[in-house]
Symmetry: C3
Subunit: 138 residues, 3 copies
């Protein structure tokens, strides 16, 4: 069994942002020289997400509206977590969107359907945060 | 390390449907001859889900009501994604229900609690779509 | 490839409870003698969750409020599942919070960001229930 590890770093300019990291993950698979196995991609922070969906700006707007409707950022004092911080909504939003994805690697490629794209979902940005890529296989 | 890959295809007659695929996944494990490892089961489409819950019609109705309450299908024009398509709600519903499950394989069987069943969750059906089954182990 | 399996049992006194199991999972990794691989931690019951977030009481209260807002326990008769049981809300809450986590193991440790903690999320407690820990790697 072979294994591989890499951290990807992000520093968003906005509080919330979706970044397509599909090519970065394929580059990790290439570097790992693993052709059959699993790749785990997870946020290392608890106010960020890794998820798979469409790379379409309208849909990303719809996700923003949906998340703000069910777990709004403001007013900050609606959340007990917001004493020294103001990011309780980000903890909840990341939970809805998911911490991690596990993807199959087949013949050295991400084994994906036609529209699957991997995103880093930032919900409390404007600072350096990171994603872990871990691959096991052969 | 051994590895195995299979696609399962579905063609639902309704827009939304839950299909129990537990036996299909166990059949894949049997075919793989892997007795200890992980099986990844994921939708290859971004408007469908794979999730684990109870095989009980009342509960499935409750999930339908819950999902329609927080991410309703109509009116279609509430979503920016719905220009050439009408399935923004399906992208959101699949995100809530989850893209994938990873299950343990122990002694050549799905290592499950008493009521765990694996479902394909379709949210934009009436066309051929598929699920990926990838197994690694020994 | 090496593999390891353990069940962790819980018997909560309340219907809903979050229990930090991070140390238990690291103890499993220690016992497995696997230094590079993946650990899968999943609820074996369909009204419980395993998720990763912050160990902060205010935030846990916020999650409780959020979950009760979007999938309230009562009135019981709002759910079709609640004929012989009263736990339809628990099935939905566990789905939002997630059934499982997959974590990387690097150099024999949980490969975690600074605030990541693993929780057992109980939504229909007051009885013995369990979590599966399965590790594969080398």
């Amino acid at each position: 069994m072979k294994h591989y590890r890499k951290e990807l770093w992000f520093d968003t300019s906005k509080r919330r942002e979706f970044i397509n990291i599909t090519r970065d993950i394929q580059a990790c698979i290439d570097e790992s020289q693993i052709s059959e196995g699993f790749v785990l991609v997870n946020a290392m922070h608890i106010t960020a997400s890794v998820f798979i969906n469409d790379d379409e700006a309208g849909l990303h707007h719809d996700f923003e509206m949906f998340l703000e409707k069910i777990a709004p950022e403001k007013p900050y004092n609606q959340y007990m977590h917001n004493t020294y911080e103001d990011n309780a909504d980000a903890h909840i939003k990341r939970t809805i969107m998911g911490r991690e994805v596990v993807c199959a690697i087949t013949k050295a490629k991400l084994d994906f359907g036609p529209w699957e794209q991997i995103f880093y979902g930032e919900f409390d940005g404007k600072r350096r945060k990171r994603v872990l890529v871990k691959i096991i296989g052969q």
